[in-house]
């Protein structure tokens, strides 16, 4: 059996026909050509009016019905229970325990990828939403009235989700990645973290209401919900429908803290990619500096990684803010605050592109483990073989190193071209004159080229 090291190792050195840096030049040229094509041929906003049309009534009734919702909720709660149980009772080996792969790969990456294609899949399977709704229904049955909730502070917006997202990634790549181990997170820690998070979410739902907290504070709902706006499937008033791709992103960033969520998403992926590559020597120097000051090795490692992760967050935010600042100089520009919020949705395709570029191969390899030996032997103790696949392994030959590289480059280029398109479309709303709108987008072009080149640089260093 092939054992898969639970590491974010991307791919081995490839044998590319041209140097990796030339791809950054090629991608930049694609963006510049797209920019001029948009300026020449896209002269009125097309994404602002979301043309939603319902799908067949039978399909809607089936998928959005109460029994279907209850069933999906039960599946979500059951899987959360399995992950917690495996974490508490299973082996300490991260690569053999169901909990780690399930939480950090199948859920974290799987829902992000598939939500972008198929809509908000996490919502029906969200175990905390299902539990919150069940508790609410129980309360109504006993007390005869709906539970009273506090008014959610408007200014808080999606900030709890942004901090939660950083905390989740911190747990995986800083807390679990320290001490020289790629992901040394103990499955027991994952289980305890899941229990603590469950208690926190249920308490917040009791305070502010289930749907209110899912829309603003629940990390996974906000994160996967953000990606689901890219796709063409959506639910309105309990009915399943179709909408133009990308159109639903235009209304996503209206809540405070949304910019922080999408910036945190890009920054956390960047940090994970840069930790063992581009930032390695800088992290090493800072770590040595901390050690020289008498800080214990593990604490010094975690402290250094945390600082660099926050620096990534600040750096990505700064590049975006510079782009917004640049747009502000164009004649007829709205306020800085309006521009900052108004263009945040153009970063969503980039967040997804970074996620695909960094984790696509990891996801493909690790899911083979998830659906074979981890499913048959969730505790990893070699005592069960539920589906007869406990002795299966991972086939690394399903993806060649070059294929992975081309998917990474393709994801980055497509993601940034889509981001540029969304930004151009929004500029046409803010600047009635399309020439001014195009001029304002020079700045977003610079932002997109910067993110593309940075992304490719991170991958080239990680792959080298």
């Amino acid at each position: 059996m092939t054992l898969l090291p639970f590491a974010h190792a991307l791919v081995a050195r490839q044998d590319l026909p041209v140097p990796a840096w030339l791809f950054a030049w090629g991608a930049s040229i694609v963006l510049i050509v797209s920019f001029f094509a948009l300026a020449a041929g896209w002269r009125r906003p097309r994404f602002e009016q979301v043309g939603w049309r319902p799908l067949g009534a039978g399909l809607s009734r089936g998928l959005c019905s109460r029994p279907a919702q209850i069933l999906c909720g039960l599946v979500g709660v059951f899987l959360l229970g399995v992950a917690v149980y495996a974490g508490l009772r299973g082996t300490e080996a991260p690569d053999r325990n169901f909990a780690l792969t399930f939480v950090f790969v199948t859920v974290w990456l799987g829902f992000a990828f598939f939500s972008a294609l198929l809509g908000d899949l996490f919502r029906p399977f969200n175990p905390w939403r299902a539990l919150g709704r069940a508790f609410g229904a129980g309360f109504r049955a006993i007390a005869g009235q709906r539970p009273a909730h506090l008014a959610y502070p408007e200014r808080l917006g999606r900030w709890p989700a942004a901090f939660g997202l950083l905390a989740f990634v911190w747990l995986e790549v800083v807390y679990g990645g320290s001490g020289g181990v790629a992901v040394g997170l103990d499955p027991h820690v994952v289980a305890v973290a899941a229990l603590v998070y469950s208690a926190y979410v249920l308490a917040m739902m009791a305070l502010f209401g289930v749907e209110e907290w899912c829309e603003r504070g629940e990390v996974f709902s906000v994160y996967f919900g953000m990606f689901s706006r890219l796709g063409c499937f959506g639910v309105e008033d309990g009915r399943l429908g179709l909408r133009p791709p990308l159109a639903a992103t235009t209304t996503w960033a209206t809540l405070p803290g949304s910019v922080a969520v999408v910036v945190a998403s890009i920054a956390s992926t960047s940090f994970d990619g840069a930790q063992e590559g581009a930032f390695k020597s800088a992290i090493g120097s800072t770590y040595e500096w901390a050690i020289d000051r008498g800080i214990a090795a593990l604490t010094a490692q975690r402290l250094t990684d945390t600082l660099f992760m926050l620096a990534c967050f600040g750096g990505v935010g700064l590049v975006y803010m510079l782009g917004v600042r640049g747009m502000r100089t164009v004649r007829g520009a709205p306020s800085f605050a309006r521009l900052r919020v108004g263009f945040a949705h153009s970063l969503i395709p980039i967040a997804l592109a970074y996620l695909v570029a960094h984790y696509f191969s990891f996801f493909v390899f690790q899911e083979q483990a998830q659906f074979t030996y981890l499913l048959s032997d969730p505790l990893g103790t070699a005592t069960t073989d539920l589906f007869g696949t406990a002795s299966a392994g991972v086939d690394y030959r399903v993806l060649s190193a070059n294929a992975i590289w081309y998917v990474q480059v393709g994801a980055l280029v497509v993601g940034h071209v889509l981001g540029l398109t969304l930004a151009h479309d929004r500029a046409l709303v803010y600047w009635r004159n399309y020439r001014d709108a195009s001029r304002s987008q020079y700045w977003m072009l610079a932002v997109m080229v910067a993110f593309t080149c940075f992304g490719l640089y991170l991958l080239s260093v990680a792959n080298g």
Partner: protein, 40 residues
């Protein structure tokens, strides 16, 4: 004579920075040209 290329790998990041600087340079140049045209 051998060229001092032993550490060239450390500076490959410059090649990723150049397209970004070219685009920013282009933006600044366009802005300056427009400002001059307006002043005239």
């Amino acid at each position: 004579m051998t060229l001092p290329l032993a550490h060239v790998g450390h500076y490959l990041w410059v090649l990723y920075l150049i397209p970004v600087l070219l685009v920013i340079g282009g933006i600044v140049r366009t802005m300056l040209v427009e400002r001059h045209r307006k002043d005239d």
